[in-house]
Subunit: 594 residues, 2 copies
């Protein structure tokens, strides 16, 4: 039996049938994971750990939050012990570099594992996830000396790391930041400035915290070209002959809508006057470039957070709908029935499920593209997957995080009055997910990136390449006559994307503002169609397995239903959004209107 | 200058140009309000009071909530004093009966006033709003003795009242309730049972609380036909020779997602053994009928709560977008600009505004229909407006409460990272509004009511009548050539509604479950088109005033933009939803799927 937390059957299906796991596991870098049985074992263990250790702390974190005093931040009860167990079980080392003691797991597999952990406790996961990103930044840009000093401790889990970008006046526009780094004779720097919204900027889970901080050196160019990256540890290395505590303080934590278990810190560098000692990572003024390499991955991870919380809230709502007895069935029974028998409750559940399946399938395909881009022996495959990746990252991040808001909110609706009560736990996924369309670049920023850098810049080449891939799926659907409804709606969606993309490319040079006013509706239609494509692929795979007589029939039949539901309930929005993109932009720009 | 809380200019425009205020003010029952200048004065005073007294307490209520002890419930700091001022200024008496000291104000006008108060502090308003509903129930069904005992104290604001329907196993299915009422020889009853989710079931704002309670007498029929309504005061009348405190207790209050300032109580009747003394209101076993008469009004009020919070969050987001400087404008300036200059921020703001305008316009039109239904001298007008009312109440309640979730959430998105922080106040409207699609009948229940009782039962007669009314607006649009885009999308929307309604009427008898699986998408398209109709009417009125050279040009031009925006961004969803209703139902019913 699958548990309430995640459906491993669904994960395995997507990995095997849609996300090319076999091909990923055959790339040369993956030595220790040569078969899918091991994959199965890892996911089962991850679920076991998530259920036993992380899930019970999710509501504790939500209720207690983290506590700040001038001396530091205390995480919610149980978080310290859970983090110790997490590290002991090596779960923090999944994708960490092998040469420093990590497991070098493919992104595809680690994505599935992280989805499980995030579904159980998103706030808890952020500490390890940020550390993972920091390790990758160090591996990418730091010199050997910095790497050998920091990376082993970060891999072992003795230390954790943070990312410090945002300042009060520099949010979406990171290049506007003002934190200063003053060069010292010994090659170190002294940092001064304030950073806000720093997740796990201060906490009690590890012995030390390494802050990766964006700041400007003296005389650096204005804007994003004058930003450098620094490593600033909370406690200085002992051999430095200075006071062990660095001049960096957490000045307070935020009270937030969700993610209560994750302290969101205001960090003050150089508040005591002497400046926080830091080491430059990579070249001067190239800090944002390093960060932008990380950014694509961070955006992908945020998207997967949204998938994880969608699945969590779907399974919560499903369990409730099976259990809650209320009202009589329309088809005649006189006894009250579980609400899952009511057509509208079924509609809500299938809307949650089919969209979550579509989002996950696209997510895993993107994860697999990351592995193949980096490690496939054939450069043509690497190139092709990289183009797909660049096109799809903003679509995925924007579309799934917006859709997850709708999905998690639907769970509250299914719970009825109880959904509004904290005790039910129904609102936490919504509250936790509402940051996802904002951090690592808002939906608007994803949509601008999609239009300007992913569509207009190459005159739609990457898009056409992707549409050709989708057309292959359409061709397969035509052969299989039983999925006509899916094919019809997908074809309409594709046509809509095609015509809008042509319009965008033609109009952008003349009327960029009008085009950008439709950027988010365009991103949404891209996501909806990309999701529909995945549902079509899933339906084709399910049909193939059913014909072959292999696999779990109930599961595969439900897949077909999901695909049909998505085709009728979600895909029709794509042509409507096409109308909005092409005709709605101009109405947005009237200066007198607002 | 209009303030941050509400736009009186917008309210006046809707009252005068769209909601027939002149006709309402000419009905015979309205003596004291014979001109619209008085209307203007009342709205100005209401806004003044809301801003001075209610608004500052909104975040206090959100932060502090209410506190429960076995002795009772204490509301947030300042609520008691504010309630005293509210009553002193007669704001609680707007629609109360004139013969008992109320003002007998038309629903249309009181709707606008209540919108202002709700925008300022929804939680606070619930106490007076529930009391208002209870007075109407008493006026409708209670005998003279009960009326003369309770109504004066409720009108004066010395006492308040509650509605007690829900029990743990009887939520949407009210008829499943089990509370018992035992008849006594003196004509009173003793009540036993537990009620949950009772707003202001216990509090410190008034001297006494009158609970209107649904319960079953001995031997009453099962289900909704055996439910009677009782008045159960917290403190018994002195002449009854019993202990002054009745046997009704608040056993606790809920911790909720929003509406923290409004205590949501679990009420226990007869917990001390002797039973709570109650008086039957109206006839035995006719309690639900009385409640259902109230229900239409309650549903309307919940819809208006959603409108109020949408406006509040729009104005919050607008003010923030004008003030927050971030990023450069795409059209070339080198200096950072207020984010309102960014096309996607404008899109979000106009999406909030145009939908809120559409919702309000439909709401006021429904309010005016209530007045005309009750008081117009011509029975044909009364009949016609009643048909409109019956058709539109579920559409309005379902559509605006769902749309308000999207609108209030968009405000968080416009605020960016700050929107996720409690301090910004950006999330409170969303949290407060999320109960609106649930209480007084979920969206699913509204949609079922729409399909079964409002469309199928009369074979679409009321719907056709309404569509004919919309066609007149279309005809006017055709004459005015400058609004072609609005006419085009509205025509498509109308055609979609028409074809789906025909399909529903034909299919319902054969496949009711399939039709009901599309009930909510159908309700949404009805709402979208009804809103589009209002936007078209607003655009026609604005154009007329512009041509006549009367009115505030900037405001009227913005109205035209709102209508065009709505036509391009919202109305195209209607045909997409038509596809979903007609093709999506079947995919929902597959028993094997979930």
């Amino acid at each position: 039996m699958d548990s309430i937390l995640v459906s491993l059957e669904e994960m395995h299906f997507v990995l095997r049938e849609l996300a090319d796991v076999e091909r990923v596991l055959q790339t040369p870098n993956v030595e220790s994971l040569a078969d899918t049985e091991l994959t199965d074992a890892i996911l089962s263990q991850a679920r076991h750990f998530a259920q036993l250790v992380l899930l019970p702390l999710d509501s504790v974190g939500d209720r207690e939050g983290a506590r700040w005093t001038p001396q530091g931040v205390t995480t919610a009860q149980g978080f310290r012990e859970a983090f110790r167990l997490f590290v002991e079980a090596d779960w923090n080392k999944l994708t960490m570099p092998v040469e420093y003691g990590g497991h070098g797991m493919p992104v595809l597999l680690s994505t599935a594992v992280r989805e499980i952990f995030t579904a159980a406790n998103k706030a808890f996961c952020m500490c390890a996830d940020l550390t993972d990103s920091a390790v990758q930044a160090l591996m990418l840009a730091a010199n050997e000396s910095l790497k050998s000093f920091y990376v082993p401790k970060l891999v072992s889990g003795e230390w954790s790391a943070t990312m410090n970008l945002t300042e009060p006046h520099a949010g979406s526009d990171v290049g506007a930041l003002r934190a200063r780094a003053v060069a010292c004779e010994d090659g170190t720097y002294r940092l001064f400035g304030q950073k806000i919204f720093i997740s796990f900027g201060e906490h009690d889970l590890t012995d030390n915290i390494v802050h990766l901080v964006l700041a400007r050196t003296a005389g650096a160019p204005e804007g994003s070209r004058g930003v450098s990256l620094f490593a600033v540890p909370k406690f200085l290395p002992e051999h430095s002959h200075r006071s062990s505590r660095n001049d960096v303080q957490c000045a307070g934590i935020e009270h937030k809508l969700g993610n209560h278990g994750s302290p969101t810190c205001t960090m003050v560098y150089g508040g005591e006057g002497q400046g926080a000692v830091g080491w430059m990572i990579g070249e001067e003024n190239k800090g944002l470039q390093t960060m932008f390499v990380m950014m694509n991955e961070a955006r992908f991870h945020v998207g997967m957070e949204a998938v994880a919380l969608s699945e969590r809230s779907y399974l919560q709502a499903l369990a409730y709908a099976r259990e809650r007895v209320q009202g009589k069935a329309i088809d005649g029974s006189e006894e009250p029935v579980p609400i899952i028998r009511h057509p509208d409750v079924r509609r809500m559940l299938l809307s949650m499920r089919s969209q979550t399946e579509a989002m996950r399938a696209l997510g895993y395909l993107i994860a697999s593209a990351q592995d193949l881009t980096h490690h496939h022996p054939d450069p043509a495959v690497r190139d092709e997957r990289e183009r797909f990746l660049d096109l799809m990252i903003p679509v995925f991040k924007g579309w799934v995080t917006e859709t997850a808001v709708e999905v998690t909110r639907t769970s509250i609706q299914i719970h009825g009055g109880l959904g509004y009560i904290d005790e039910s736990g129904a609102s936490q996924p919504l509250r936790d997910v509402l940051i996802c369309p904002i951090y690592e670049g808002t939906t608007g920023i994803q949509a601008n990136d999609l239009i300007t850098r992913k569509i207009v810049r190459d005159d739609g080449a990457a898009l056409r390449h992707w549409l050709a891939e989708v057309s292959q799926t359409l061709a397969e659907l035509e052969i299989v006559r039983t999925l006509d409804d899916v094919g019809l709606r997908l074809r309409e969606g594709i046509a809509a994307v095609q015509s809008v993309a042509d319009w965008i490319i033609a109009e952008y040079r003349l009327h960029p503002l009008e085009v950008l006013a439709g950027a988010v509706p365009f991103l949404r239609m891209m996501g909806i169609v990309a999701g529909g494509w995945q549902m079509a692929r899933a339906a084709l795979a399910a049909r193939r397995l059913l014909e072959a007589g292999t696999g779990h029939e109930g599961f595969l039949q439900a897949k077909l239903t999901s695909a049909r539901f998505y085709a009728a309930h979600v895909l029709p929005q794509a042509p409507a959004l096409a109308t909005t993109v092409m005709h709605g932009g101009i109405t947005t720009l009237d200066e007198a209107a607002i």
